[in-house]
Protein backbone atom coordinates (compact mmCIF):
# COMPACT_ATOMS: atom_id res chain seq x y z
CA UNK A 1 0.00 0.00 0.00
CA UNK A 2 1.42 3.37 -0.94
CA UNK A 3 1.25 6.43 1.26
CA UNK A 4 -1.35 8.09 -0.92
CA UNK A 5 -3.67 5.12 -0.60
CA UNK A 6 -3.68 5.22 3.20
CA UNK A 7 -7.17 6.09 4.45
CA UNK A 8 -7.56 9.41 6.20
CA UNK A 9 -6.85 9.20 9.95
CA UNK A 10 -10.32 10.42 10.84
CA UNK A 11 -12.23 7.53 9.21
CA UNK A 12 -14.25 5.30 11.51
CA UNK A 13 -12.70 1.93 12.40
CA UNK A 14 -13.77 -0.91 10.15
CA UNK A 15 -17.11 -2.31 11.26
CA UNK A 16 -16.87 -5.69 12.90
CA UNK A 17 -18.05 -8.61 10.81
CA UNK A 18 -21.31 -10.25 11.85
CA UNK A 19 -20.84 -13.09 14.30
CA UNK A 20 -21.76 -15.81 11.79
CA UNK A 21 -19.14 -14.61 9.34
CA UNK A 22 -16.48 -14.21 12.02
CA UNK A 23 -17.14 -17.75 13.20
CA UNK A 24 -16.93 -19.07 9.68
CA UNK A 25 -13.63 -17.30 9.00
CA UNK A 26 -11.92 -17.68 12.35
CA UNK A 27 -13.03 -21.12 13.42
CA UNK A 28 -14.40 -23.29 10.64
CA UNK A 29 -12.05 -22.03 7.94
CA UNK A 30 -8.91 -22.82 9.92
CA UNK A 31 -9.17 -26.50 9.01
CA UNK A 32 -7.23 -28.05 6.17
CA UNK A 33 -7.04 -31.36 4.34
CA UNK A 34 -3.85 -33.28 5.16
CA UNK A 35 -1.62 -33.72 2.12
CA UNK A 36 1.34 -35.87 3.20
CA UNK A 37 -0.33 -38.05 5.86
CA UNK A 38 -3.38 -40.25 5.63
CA UNK A 39 -6.52 -38.95 7.25
CA UNK A 40 -6.84 -42.27 9.08
CA UNK A 41 -3.35 -41.86 10.55
CA UNK A 42 -4.12 -38.32 11.60
CA UNK A 43 -7.38 -39.30 13.31
CA UNK A 44 -6.88 -42.90 14.44
CA UNK A 45 -9.57 -43.07 17.15
CA UNK A 46 -12.80 -42.14 15.39
CA UNK A 47 -13.69 -45.45 13.75
CA UNK A 48 -13.38 -48.30 16.27
CA UNK A 49 -16.51 -47.56 18.28
CA UNK A 50 -18.75 -48.31 15.30
CA UNK A 51 -19.99 -44.73 14.95
CA UNK A 52 -20.46 -43.62 11.36
CA UNK A 53 -19.88 -39.97 10.40
CA UNK A 54 -20.48 -38.91 6.81
CA UNK A 55 -19.97 -35.17 7.08
CA UNK A 56 -18.11 -33.51 9.94
CA UNK A 57 -19.24 -30.10 8.67
CA UNK A 58 -22.75 -30.97 9.83
CA UNK A 59 -21.66 -30.10 13.37
CA UNK A 60 -23.24 -26.87 14.63
CA UNK A 61 -21.94 -24.64 17.40
CA UNK A 62 -24.71 -22.21 18.34
CA UNK A 63 -22.25 -20.17 20.44
CA UNK A 64 -20.20 -19.54 17.29
CA UNK A 65 -17.16 -19.02 19.40
CA UNK A 66 -13.95 -17.55 18.05
CA UNK A 67 -10.60 -17.31 19.83
CA UNK A 68 -10.86 -13.56 20.39
CA UNK A 69 -14.41 -13.70 21.75
CA UNK A 70 -13.52 -16.64 23.97
CA UNK A 71 -10.62 -14.80 25.60
CA UNK A 72 -12.60 -11.60 25.99
CA UNK A 73 -15.47 -13.19 27.89
CA UNK A 74 -13.35 -15.61 29.91
CA UNK A 75 -11.02 -12.91 31.17
CA UNK A 76 -14.03 -10.82 32.19
CA UNK A 77 -15.40 -13.82 34.13
CA UNK A 78 -12.09 -14.29 35.94
CA UNK A 79 -11.82 -10.60 36.80
CA UNK A 80 -15.25 -10.63 38.39
CA UNK A 81 -14.49 -13.80 40.33
CA UNK A 82 -11.12 -12.74 41.71
CA UNK A 83 -12.58 -9.42 42.90
CA UNK A 84 -14.99 -11.43 45.05
CA UNK A 85 -12.28 -13.79 46.32
CA UNK A 86 -10.07 -10.91 47.39
CA UNK A 87 -12.78 -9.01 49.22
CA UNK A 88 -13.99 -12.16 50.98
CA UNK A 89 -10.49 -13.03 52.20
CA UNK A 90 -9.71 -9.44 53.18
CA UNK A 91 -12.88 -9.09 55.24
CA UNK A 92 -12.55 -12.43 57.09
CA UNK A 93 -15.60 -13.54 55.15
CA UNK A 94 -15.38 -17.09 56.47
CA UNK A 95 -16.76 -15.81 59.80
CA UNK A 96 -20.03 -14.89 58.11
CA UNK A 97 -20.88 -18.43 57.01
CA UNK A 98 -24.11 -19.88 58.42
CA UNK A 99 -22.05 -22.37 60.45
CA UNK A 100 -18.68 -24.12 60.18
CA UNK A 101 -20.52 -27.40 59.53
CA UNK A 102 -21.58 -25.93 56.18
CA UNK A 103 -18.00 -26.43 55.00
CA UNK A 104 -18.42 -30.21 55.04
CA UNK A 105 -20.21 -29.87 51.72
CA UNK A 106 -17.28 -27.85 50.35
CA UNK A 107 -14.83 -30.49 51.58
CA UNK A 108 -16.81 -33.06 49.65
CA UNK A 109 -16.68 -30.71 46.66
CA UNK A 110 -12.92 -30.14 46.54
CA UNK A 111 -12.11 -33.77 47.28
CA UNK A 112 -14.67 -35.25 44.92
CA UNK A 113 -15.38 -32.75 42.15
CA UNK A 114 -12.36 -30.47 41.62
CA UNK A 115 -10.12 -33.37 40.52
CA UNK A 116 -12.79 -34.25 37.95
CA UNK A 117 -12.46 -30.78 36.48
CA UNK A 118 -8.78 -31.43 35.97
CA UNK A 119 -9.49 -34.85 34.47
CA UNK A 120 -11.99 -33.23 32.10
CA UNK A 121 -9.37 -30.65 31.13
CA UNK A 122 -7.02 -33.45 30.11
CA UNK A 123 -9.58 -35.41 28.16
CA UNK A 124 -11.03 -32.47 26.26
CA UNK A 125 -7.50 -31.55 25.22
CA UNK A 126 -7.32 -35.04 23.71
CA UNK A 127 -10.64 -34.53 21.91
CA UNK A 128 -9.43 -31.14 20.68
CA UNK A 129 -6.67 -33.00 18.91
CA UNK A 130 -8.44 -36.13 17.72
CA UNK A 131 -12.00 -35.25 16.68
CA UNK A 132 -12.13 -34.84 12.94
CA UNK A 133 -14.21 -31.71 12.42
CA UNK A 134 -12.93 -28.20 13.13
CA UNK A 135 -16.15 -27.21 14.96
CA UNK A 136 -16.09 -29.97 17.61
CA UNK A 137 -12.29 -29.65 17.90
CA UNK A 138 -12.52 -25.98 18.70
CA UNK A 139 -15.45 -26.47 21.09
CA UNK A 140 -13.42 -29.20 22.85
CA UNK A 141 -10.36 -26.92 23.01
CA UNK A 142 -12.40 -24.17 24.69
CA UNK A 143 -13.87 -26.68 27.08
CA UNK A 144 -10.42 -28.03 27.92
CA UNK A 145 -9.26 -24.54 28.87
CA UNK A 146 -12.52 -23.95 30.78
CA UNK A 147 -12.04 -27.09 32.85
CA UNK A 148 -8.51 -26.08 33.79
CA UNK A 149 -9.89 -22.67 34.81
CA UNK A 150 -12.52 -24.41 36.94
CA UNK A 151 -9.95 -26.58 38.71
CA UNK A 152 -7.70 -23.57 39.36
CA UNK A 153 -10.43 -21.19 40.52
CA UNK A 154 -11.88 -23.83 42.82
CA UNK A 155 -8.48 -24.50 44.37
CA UNK A 156 -7.86 -20.77 44.80
CA UNK A 157 -11.28 -20.17 46.29
CA UNK A 158 -11.23 -23.04 48.71
CA UNK A 159 -7.60 -22.58 49.74
CA UNK A 160 -8.81 -19.61 51.79
CA UNK A 161 -10.82 -22.01 53.98
CA UNK A 162 -7.82 -24.33 54.32
CA UNK A 163 -6.19 -21.65 56.49
CA UNK A 164 -8.87 -22.02 59.15
CA UNK A 165 -10.61 -25.40 58.84
CA UNK A 166 -9.78 -29.12 58.68
CA UNK A 167 -10.30 -31.53 55.81
CA UNK A 168 -9.07 -29.32 52.96
CA UNK A 169 -5.37 -30.12 52.99
CA UNK A 170 -4.85 -33.31 50.98
CA UNK A 171 -7.77 -33.47 48.60
CA UNK A 172 -5.75 -34.59 45.59
CA UNK A 173 -4.20 -37.56 47.39
CA UNK A 174 -7.54 -38.37 48.99
CA UNK A 175 -9.26 -38.38 45.61
CA UNK A 176 -6.98 -41.22 44.55
CA UNK A 177 -7.38 -43.25 47.74
CA UNK A 178 -10.43 -42.64 49.92
CA UNK A 179 -13.49 -44.90 49.70
CA UNK A 180 -16.28 -42.37 49.05
CA UNK A 181 -14.12 -40.48 46.56
CA UNK A 182 -13.61 -43.56 44.44
CA UNK A 183 -17.27 -43.07 43.52
CA UNK A 184 -16.47 -39.91 41.58
CA UNK A 185 -13.00 -40.91 40.45
CA UNK A 186 -14.06 -44.27 39.04
CA UNK A 187 -16.88 -42.68 37.06
CA UNK A 188 -14.48 -40.36 35.30
CA UNK A 189 -11.91 -43.12 34.79
CA UNK A 190 -14.67 -45.17 33.20
CA UNK A 191 -15.46 -42.33 30.79
CA UNK A 192 -11.83 -41.50 29.98
CA UNK A 193 -11.01 -45.11 29.20
CA UNK A 194 -13.89 -45.27 26.70
CA UNK A 195 -13.61 -44.12 23.09
CA UNK A 196 -14.04 -40.46 22.07
CA UNK A 197 -17.70 -40.78 21.10
CA UNK A 198 -18.69 -42.63 24.23
CA UNK A 199 -16.85 -39.95 26.22
CA UNK A 200 -18.95 -37.27 24.51
CA UNK A 201 -22.15 -39.11 25.40
CA UNK A 202 -20.98 -39.84 28.94
CA UNK A 203 -19.50 -36.58 30.09
CA UNK A 204 -20.76 -33.97 27.63
CA UNK A 205 -24.27 -35.26 27.29
CA UNK A 206 -25.27 -37.43 30.26
CA UNK A 207 -23.20 -35.65 32.87
CA UNK A 208 -23.17 -32.07 31.59
CA UNK A 209 -26.54 -31.80 29.90
CA UNK A 210 -28.78 -34.28 31.71
CA UNK A 211 -27.53 -33.96 35.28
CA UNK A 212 -25.19 -31.00 35.68
CA UNK A 213 -27.97 -28.82 37.06
CA UNK A 214 -28.57 -31.32 39.80
CA UNK A 215 -24.88 -31.44 40.60
CA UNK A 216 -23.94 -27.79 40.48
CA UNK A 217 -26.89 -25.53 40.92
CA UNK A 218 -27.76 -26.97 44.37
CA UNK A 219 -24.13 -26.53 45.48
CA UNK A 220 -24.16 -22.94 44.33
CA UNK A 221 -27.57 -21.99 45.67
CA UNK A 222 -26.57 -23.74 48.91
CA UNK A 223 -23.40 -21.66 48.99
CA UNK A 224 -25.38 -18.47 48.40
CA UNK A 225 -27.88 -19.32 51.12
CA UNK A 226 -25.18 -20.23 53.65
CA UNK A 227 -23.05 -17.12 53.21
CA UNK A 228 -20.35 -18.70 51.05
CA UNK A 229 -19.94 -15.92 48.53
CA UNK A 230 -16.69 -17.15 46.92
CA UNK A 231 -18.02 -20.65 46.25
CA UNK A 232 -21.19 -19.19 44.81
CA UNK A 233 -19.07 -16.94 42.60
CA UNK A 234 -16.78 -19.63 41.26
CA UNK A 235 -19.80 -21.84 40.83
CA UNK A 236 -21.72 -19.37 38.74
CA UNK A 237 -18.57 -18.43 36.87
CA UNK A 238 -18.03 -22.10 36.05
CA UNK A 239 -21.70 -22.62 35.25
CA UNK A 240 -21.62 -19.90 32.65
CA UNK A 241 -19.05 -22.07 30.84
CA UNK A 242 -21.19 -25.07 31.63
CA UNK A 243 -23.94 -23.74 29.41
CA UNK A 244 -21.50 -23.99 26.55
CA UNK A 245 -20.53 -27.50 27.66
CA UNK A 246 -24.18 -28.53 27.78
CA UNK A 247 -24.52 -27.23 24.26
CA UNK A 248 -21.52 -29.29 23.16
CA UNK A 249 -23.19 -32.37 24.68
CA UNK A 250 -26.50 -31.71 22.99
CA UNK A 251 -24.95 -30.86 19.63
CA UNK A 252 -22.75 -33.96 19.84
CA UNK A 253 -25.66 -36.26 20.33
CA UNK A 254 -27.84 -34.64 17.67
CA UNK A 255 -24.97 -34.62 15.23
CA UNK A 256 -24.22 -38.32 15.75
CA UNK A 257 -27.90 -39.26 15.53
CA UNK A 258 -28.34 -37.29 12.32
CA UNK A 259 -25.24 -38.73 10.66
CA UNK A 260 -26.37 -42.33 10.37
CA UNK A 261 -29.20 -44.51 11.59
CA UNK A 262 -26.70 -47.18 12.61
CA UNK A 263 -25.52 -44.79 15.33
CA UNK A 264 -28.89 -44.75 17.09
CA UNK A 265 -28.70 -48.07 19.01
CA UNK A 266 -25.08 -47.38 20.01
CA UNK A 267 -26.00 -43.96 21.38
CA UNK A 268 -29.06 -45.37 23.14
CA UNK A 269 -26.87 -47.93 24.92
CA UNK A 270 -24.48 -45.21 26.06
CA UNK A 271 -27.34 -43.00 27.27
CA UNK A 272 -28.76 -45.94 29.23
CA UNK A 273 -25.40 -46.66 30.82
CA UNK A 274 -24.31 -43.11 31.51
CA UNK A 275 -27.58 -41.83 32.83
CA UNK A 276 -27.44 -44.45 35.57
CA UNK A 277 -23.70 -44.00 36.23
CA UNK A 278 -24.08 -40.22 36.59
CA UNK A 279 -27.30 -40.50 38.54
CA UNK A 280 -25.74 -42.91 41.03
CA UNK A 281 -22.86 -40.50 41.58
CA UNK A 282 -25.31 -37.66 42.14
CA UNK A 283 -26.58 -39.61 45.16
CA UNK A 284 -23.70 -37.99 47.08
CA UNK A 285 -25.12 -34.60 46.12
CA UNK A 286 -28.55 -35.71 47.31
CA UNK A 287 -27.14 -36.49 50.77
CA UNK A 288 -25.29 -33.18 50.80
CA UNK A 289 -28.34 -31.13 49.83
CA UNK A 290 -30.72 -32.61 52.34
CA UNK A 291 -28.42 -33.08 55.31
CA UNK A 292 -25.16 -31.14 55.07
CA UNK A 293 -26.39 -27.58 54.57
CA UNK A 294 -27.18 -25.80 57.88
CA UNK A 295 -29.68 -23.77 55.90
CA UNK A 296 -31.09 -26.10 53.25
CA UNK A 297 -32.24 -24.51 50.01
CA UNK A 298 -34.25 -27.07 48.15
CA UNK A 299 -34.71 -30.78 48.76
CA UNK A 300 -33.16 -33.37 46.48
CA UNK A 301 -36.63 -34.50 45.57
CA UNK A 302 -37.74 -31.04 44.48
CA UNK A 303 -34.51 -30.43 42.54
CA UNK A 304 -34.87 -33.81 40.84
CA UNK A 305 -38.43 -33.03 39.81
CA UNK A 306 -37.58 -29.55 38.61
CA UNK A 307 -34.29 -30.15 36.84
CA UNK A 308 -34.64 -33.74 35.73
CA UNK A 309 -38.27 -34.74 35.45
CA UNK A 310 -39.65 -31.44 34.12
CA UNK A 311 -36.74 -30.20 32.03
CA UNK A 312 -35.16 -33.42 30.78
CA UNK A 313 -37.95 -35.99 30.67
CA UNK A 314 -40.56 -33.34 29.86
CA UNK A 315 -38.49 -31.22 27.49
CA UNK A 316 -35.43 -32.98 26.11
CA UNK A 317 -36.52 -36.58 25.60
CA UNK A 318 -39.58 -35.77 23.49
CA UNK A 319 -37.07 -33.86 21.31
CA UNK A 320 -34.80 -36.89 21.03
CA UNK A 321 -37.77 -39.17 20.28
CA UNK A 322 -37.60 -37.67 16.78
CA UNK A 323 -34.38 -39.66 16.29
CA UNK A 324 -35.76 -42.83 17.88
CA UNK A 325 -34.13 -42.25 21.28
CA UNK A 326 -36.14 -43.28 24.33
CA UNK A 327 -35.69 -42.09 27.94
CA UNK A 328 -32.86 -43.88 29.74
CA UNK A 329 -33.38 -47.46 30.82
CA UNK A 330 -33.85 -47.56 34.63
CA UNK A 331 -35.08 -43.96 34.72
CA UNK A 332 -38.22 -45.18 36.49
CA UNK A 333 -36.05 -46.64 39.25
CA UNK A 334 -34.47 -43.23 39.78
CA UNK A 335 -37.88 -41.57 39.95
CA UNK A 336 -39.16 -44.23 42.34
CA UNK A 337 -36.34 -43.66 44.81
CA UNK A 338 -36.41 -39.85 44.97
CA UNK A 339 -38.15 -40.02 48.36
CA UNK A 340 -35.44 -42.14 49.93
CA UNK A 341 -32.14 -41.57 48.13
CA UNK A 342 -30.71 -38.74 50.25
CA UNK A 343 -31.66 -40.41 53.53
CA UNK A 344 -30.00 -43.67 52.59
CA UNK A 345 -26.85 -41.92 51.43
CA UNK A 346 -26.48 -39.68 54.43
CA UNK A 347 -26.95 -42.66 56.73
CA UNK A 348 -23.89 -44.20 55.07
CA UNK A 349 -21.87 -41.00 55.48
CA UNK A 350 -23.01 -40.60 59.10
CA UNK A 351 -22.06 -44.19 59.91
CA UNK A 352 -18.65 -44.07 58.26
CA UNK A 353 -17.49 -40.49 58.78
CA UNK A 354 -14.82 -41.73 61.20
CA UNK A 355 -13.04 -42.71 57.97
CA UNK A 356 -13.88 -39.57 55.98
CA UNK A 357 -12.27 -36.15 55.58
CA UNK A 358 -15.44 -34.40 56.70
CA UNK A 359 -17.66 -34.60 59.75
CA UNK A 360 -21.33 -35.49 60.11
CA UNK A 361 -23.99 -35.04 62.75
CA UNK A 362 -27.50 -36.14 63.56
CA UNK A 363 -29.99 -33.60 62.20
CA UNK A 364 -31.44 -31.11 64.70
CA UNK A 365 -35.14 -30.85 65.53
CA UNK A 366 -35.60 -27.98 63.10
CA UNK A 367 -33.78 -29.83 60.39
CA UNK A 368 -35.89 -32.94 60.94
CA UNK A 369 -39.04 -30.82 60.77
CA UNK A 370 -37.84 -29.52 57.39
CA UNK A 371 -37.07 -33.05 56.17
CA UNK A 372 -40.46 -34.21 57.33
CA UNK A 373 -42.16 -31.42 55.39
CA UNK A 374 -40.13 -32.17 52.26
CA UNK A 375 -40.63 -35.93 52.47
CA UNK A 376 -44.09 -36.40 53.98
CA UNK A 377 -44.41 -39.98 52.68
CA UNK A 378 -41.14 -41.36 53.98
CA UNK A 379 -39.23 -39.31 56.52
CA UNK A 380 -41.28 -39.78 59.69
CA UNK A 381 -42.06 -43.36 58.87
CA UNK A 382 -38.64 -44.73 57.86
CA UNK A 383 -35.87 -42.32 58.80
CA UNK A 384 -36.83 -40.24 61.81
CA UNK A 385 -36.81 -43.26 64.15
CA UNK A 386 -33.19 -43.99 63.23
CA UNK A 387 -32.12 -40.39 63.87
CA UNK A 388 -33.96 -40.35 67.19
CA UNK A 389 -32.12 -43.44 68.24
CA UNK A 390 -28.84 -41.75 67.37
CA UNK A 391 -30.02 -38.77 69.35
CA UNK A 392 -30.66 -40.83 72.48
CA UNK A 393 -27.27 -42.53 72.21
CA UNK A 394 -25.61 -39.14 71.82
CA UNK A 395 -27.51 -37.71 74.80
CA UNK A 396 -25.73 -40.35 76.87
CA UNK A 397 -22.36 -39.22 75.54
CA UNK A 398 -22.06 -41.90 72.85
CA UNK A 399 -21.86 -41.79 69.07
CA UNK A 400 -22.68 -44.71 66.80
CA UNK A 401 -20.23 -45.45 64.01
CA UNK A 402 -20.47 -48.58 61.94
CA UNK A 403 -17.68 -50.97 62.90
CA UNK A 404 -16.37 -52.91 59.93
CA UNK A 405 -16.11 -52.33 56.23
CA UNK A 406 -19.07 -52.25 53.86
CA UNK A 407 -19.62 -54.29 50.71
CA UNK A 408 -19.20 -51.94 47.75
CA UNK A 409 -21.05 -52.02 44.46
CA UNK A 410 -18.73 -53.23 41.71
CA UNK A 411 -19.95 -50.48 39.37
CA UNK A 412 -20.84 -47.29 41.28
CA UNK A 413 -18.59 -48.18 44.25
CA UNK A 414 -21.12 -46.85 46.78
CA UNK A 415 -21.59 -49.13 49.82
CA UNK A 416 -24.46 -51.51 49.17
CA UNK A 417 -27.10 -49.80 51.30
CA UNK A 418 -29.76 -48.70 48.84
CA UNK A 419 -33.10 -50.41 49.19
CA UNK A 420 -35.46 -52.18 46.80
CA UNK A 421 -37.48 -49.91 44.58
CA UNK A 422 -40.77 -50.64 46.28
CA UNK A 423 -39.59 -51.58 49.75
CA UNK A 424 -37.53 -49.08 51.76
CA UNK A 425 -36.82 -51.71 54.42
CA UNK A 426 -35.08 -54.29 52.20
CA UNK A 427 -31.49 -53.78 50.95
CA UNK A 428 -31.16 -54.08 47.19
CA UNK A 429 -28.41 -56.52 46.37
CA UNK A 430 -27.63 -58.09 42.99
CA UNK A 431 -24.93 -60.47 41.93
CA UNK A 432 -23.49 -61.60 38.61
CA UNK A 433 -21.15 -64.42 37.69
CA UNK A 434 -18.20 -63.79 35.42
CA UNK A 435 -15.28 -66.15 34.73
CA UNK A 436 -16.31 -68.26 37.71
CA UNK A 437 -16.32 -65.37 40.17
CA UNK A 438 -19.19 -63.52 41.81
CA UNK A 439 -19.56 -59.74 41.55
CA UNK A 440 -21.98 -57.65 43.59
CA UNK A 441 -23.97 -54.63 42.52
CA UNK A 442 -26.41 -52.32 44.30
CA UNK A 443 -29.26 -52.07 41.81
CA UNK A 444 -30.71 -53.29 38.54
CA UNK A 445 -29.05 -50.30 36.86
CA UNK A 446 -25.55 -51.10 38.09
CA UNK A 447 -26.01 -54.83 37.44
CA UNK A 448 -27.10 -54.12 33.86
CA UNK A 449 -23.99 -51.98 33.36
CA UNK A 450 -21.76 -54.68 34.81
CA UNK A 451 -23.27 -57.43 32.67
CA UNK A 452 -22.85 -55.31 29.55
CA UNK A 453 -19.07 -54.91 29.98
CA UNK A 454 -17.89 -57.31 32.68
CA UNK A 455 -14.30 -57.28 31.33
CA UNK A 456 -14.13 -53.61 32.20
CA UNK A 457 -15.73 -53.62 35.63
CA UNK A 458 -13.88 -56.62 37.05
CA UNK A 459 -10.87 -54.31 36.98
CA UNK A 460 -12.47 -51.81 39.37
CA UNK A 461 -10.21 -50.53 42.17
CA UNK A 462 -12.59 -51.09 45.07
CA UNK A 463 -11.34 -49.36 48.22
CA UNK A 464 -12.65 -51.99 50.64
CA UNK A 465 -11.13 -54.87 48.68
CA UNK A 466 -7.88 -52.95 48.49
CA UNK A 467 -7.80 -52.54 52.28
CA UNK A 468 -8.36 -56.27 52.73
CA UNK A 469 -5.64 -57.00 50.19
CA UNK A 470 -3.21 -54.97 52.27
CA UNK A 471 -2.73 -52.16 49.75
CA UNK A 472 -3.88 -49.25 51.92
CA UNK A 473 -1.29 -48.62 54.60
CA UNK A 474 -2.04 -51.48 56.96
CA UNK A 475 -4.73 -53.57 58.65
CA UNK A 476 -6.07 -51.12 61.25
CA UNK A 477 -8.27 -48.05 60.93
CA UNK A 478 -5.48 -45.64 62.01
CA UNK A 479 -3.14 -47.23 59.43
CA UNK A 480 -5.66 -46.70 56.66
CA UNK A 481 -6.54 -43.15 57.75
CA UNK A 482 -2.85 -42.24 57.79
CA UNK A 483 -2.50 -43.65 54.27
CA UNK A 484 -5.58 -41.68 53.18
CA UNK A 485 -3.98 -38.47 54.48
CA UNK A 486 -6.80 -37.91 56.98
CA UNK A 487 -5.64 -36.09 60.10
CA UNK A 488 -7.17 -36.30 63.56
CA UNK A 489 -10.14 -33.94 63.69
CA UNK A 490 -10.83 -33.96 59.93
CA UNK A 491 -13.16 -36.89 60.50
CA UNK A 492 -15.93 -38.17 62.75
CA UNK A 493 -18.62 -36.20 64.56
CA UNK A 494 -19.03 -32.46 64.02
CA UNK A 495 -20.05 -31.66 67.61
CA UNK A 496 -16.82 -31.22 69.56
CA UNK A 497 -14.65 -31.30 66.42
CA UNK A 498 -11.81 -28.74 66.07
CA UNK A 499 -13.86 -26.87 63.42
CA UNK A 500 -16.85 -26.61 65.74
CA UNK A 501 -14.80 -25.56 68.77
CA UNK A 502 -12.88 -22.88 66.90
CA UNK A 503 -16.04 -21.59 65.32
CA UNK A 504 -17.64 -21.22 68.75
CA UNK A 505 -14.55 -19.43 70.05
CA UNK A 506 -14.43 -17.01 67.11
CA UNK A 507 -18.06 -16.12 67.64
CA UNK A 508 -17.90 -15.45 71.36
CA UNK A 509 -18.72 -11.86 72.27
CA UNK A 510 -15.55 -9.78 72.55
CA UNK A 511 -14.01 -9.76 76.00
CA UNK A 512 -12.71 -6.23 75.96
CA UNK A 513 -9.17 -5.45 74.78
CA UNK A 514 -8.34 -2.54 72.57
Amino acid sequence: MSLTERPPATSAPAKKLPVKQRYSLLTRDLDWEPSYVNRADLYPYTSYEGIVVHDWDGWEDPFRLTVDAYHKYQSEKDKRLYAVLDSFAQSQGHLTLSDASYLNSIKLFIQGVTPLEYAAHRHFAYLARYLEGPAPRFAALCQSIDELRHAQTQIHTISNYNKYYGGFHSWSKMHDRVWYLSVTKSLFDDAMSAGPFEFLVSISFSFEYLLTNLLFVPFMSGASFNGDMPTMSFGFSAQSDESRHMTLGLEAIKFLLEQDEANVPIIQGWIDKWFWRSYRMSALVAGMMDYMLPKPVMSWKEAFELYFEDQMLGGLFPDLAYYGITPPRHVQDAIAEKDKLSHEVYKILHNFSFAAAFTTSTPSDDHMAWLSAQYPDTFDRYYRPTWEKHRSVEAGGGRVFFQGLPQLCQVCQIPIAFTERDDPTRISFRHSEFRGETFHTCSDGCQWIFDREPEKYVQAWLPVHQIYQGNCGGPTVPDVLAWYGIQEGDNGEYAGSPDQQQWAEWHQPAKGGN
Binding site: F63, E76, S221, S224, Q239, E242, S243, P318, D319
Partner: protein, 96 residues
Protein backbone atom coordinates in the same frame (compact mmCIF):
# COMPACT_ATOMS: atom_id res chain seq x y z
CA UNK B 1 -38.72 -16.56 11.98
CA UNK B 2 -39.35 -20.30 11.87
CA UNK B 3 -42.57 -21.80 13.18
CA UNK B 4 -42.83 -22.76 16.76
CA UNK B 5 -43.07 -26.54 16.76
CA UNK B 6 -43.81 -27.36 20.37
CA UNK B 7 -45.05 -25.79 23.56
CA UNK B 8 -42.91 -27.92 25.84
CA UNK B 9 -41.26 -25.77 28.49
CA UNK B 10 -37.85 -24.23 27.96
CA UNK B 11 -35.88 -22.48 30.66
CA UNK B 12 -32.93 -20.21 31.33
CA UNK B 13 -31.24 -19.70 34.71
CA UNK B 14 -29.41 -16.38 35.15
CA UNK B 15 -27.26 -15.00 37.93
CA UNK B 16 -29.10 -12.50 40.03
CA UNK B 17 -27.02 -9.33 39.74
CA UNK B 18 -27.39 -5.62 39.26
CA UNK B 19 -26.44 -5.80 35.62
CA UNK B 20 -28.64 -8.79 34.89
CA UNK B 21 -31.71 -6.98 36.19
CA UNK B 22 -31.94 -5.01 32.94
CA UNK B 23 -31.43 -8.19 30.95
CA UNK B 24 -34.18 -9.97 32.87
CA UNK B 25 -36.52 -6.99 32.40
CA UNK B 26 -35.87 -7.11 28.67
CA UNK B 27 -36.56 -10.85 28.52
CA UNK B 28 -39.81 -10.31 30.44
CA UNK B 29 -40.83 -7.60 27.97
CA UNK B 30 -40.18 -9.80 24.95
CA UNK B 31 -41.73 -12.95 26.43
CA UNK B 32 -45.05 -12.04 28.05
CA UNK B 33 -45.81 -15.60 29.16
CA UNK B 34 -42.57 -15.94 31.11
CA UNK B 35 -42.62 -17.35 34.63
CA UNK B 36 -39.92 -15.99 36.93
CA UNK B 37 -38.71 -17.81 40.02
CA UNK B 38 -36.12 -16.32 42.39
CA UNK B 39 -33.73 -18.73 44.05
CA UNK B 40 -30.69 -17.89 46.18
CA UNK B 41 -28.27 -16.17 43.82
CA UNK B 42 -30.16 -16.93 40.65
CA UNK B 43 -33.31 -16.27 38.69
CA UNK B 44 -35.05 -19.08 36.87
CA UNK B 45 -37.01 -18.12 33.75
CA UNK B 46 -39.37 -20.58 32.11
CA UNK B 47 -41.78 -20.37 29.22
CA UNK B 48 -43.80 -22.67 27.03
CA UNK B 49 -42.29 -23.20 23.59
CA UNK B 50 -39.53 -20.61 23.47
CA UNK B 51 -37.69 -17.73 25.06
CA UNK B 52 -36.31 -14.95 22.91
CA UNK B 53 -33.69 -12.37 23.92
CA UNK B 54 -33.47 -9.31 21.67
CA UNK B 55 -30.40 -7.10 21.62
CA UNK B 56 -32.39 -3.90 21.02
CA UNK B 57 -34.64 -4.47 24.02
CA UNK B 58 -31.68 -5.24 26.27
CA UNK B 59 -29.80 -2.15 25.05
CA UNK B 60 -32.82 0.07 25.67
CA UNK B 61 -33.00 -1.14 29.27
CA UNK B 62 -29.26 -1.12 29.90
CA UNK B 63 -28.71 2.25 28.29
CA UNK B 64 -25.57 1.08 26.49
CA UNK B 65 -24.60 -1.10 23.53
CA UNK B 66 -24.87 -4.82 24.34
CA UNK B 67 -23.51 -7.74 22.32
CA UNK B 68 -25.48 -10.96 22.34
CA UNK B 69 -22.20 -12.68 23.25
CA UNK B 70 -22.35 -10.95 26.64
CA UNK B 71 -25.21 -13.27 27.45
CA UNK B 72 -22.47 -15.82 28.20
CA UNK B 73 -21.54 -13.80 31.28
CA UNK B 74 -25.06 -13.95 32.67
CA UNK B 75 -26.23 -17.49 32.04
CA UNK B 76 -25.98 -20.24 34.66
CA UNK B 77 -27.91 -22.98 32.93
CA UNK B 78 -30.69 -23.65 30.46
CA UNK B 79 -33.11 -26.26 29.21
CA UNK B 80 -33.76 -26.31 25.51
CA UNK B 81 -31.72 -25.71 22.44
CA UNK B 82 -30.11 -22.50 21.15
CA UNK B 83 -31.92 -22.42 17.84
CA UNK B 84 -30.71 -18.91 16.99
CA UNK B 85 -27.73 -16.94 18.27
CA UNK B 86 -26.75 -14.09 16.00
CA UNK B 87 -25.93 -10.40 16.41
CA UNK B 88 -29.53 -9.38 17.05
CA UNK B 89 -31.20 -12.13 19.00
CA UNK B 90 -30.93 -15.40 20.89
CA UNK B 91 -33.74 -17.94 20.79
CA UNK B 92 -34.05 -20.97 23.03
CA UNK B 93 -36.55 -23.61 21.97
CA UNK B 94 -36.68 -27.35 21.41
CA UNK B 95 -35.74 -28.57 17.98
CA UNK B 96 -38.53 -31.08 17.36
Amino acid sequence: MTEQTTLRPVGIDLQESEENRALIDAIKADNPELTVRHMPGLVKLQAAGQIVIKRETVEARLGRPWETGEFQLAIVSYAGNFSEWDDDQIIVRWKH
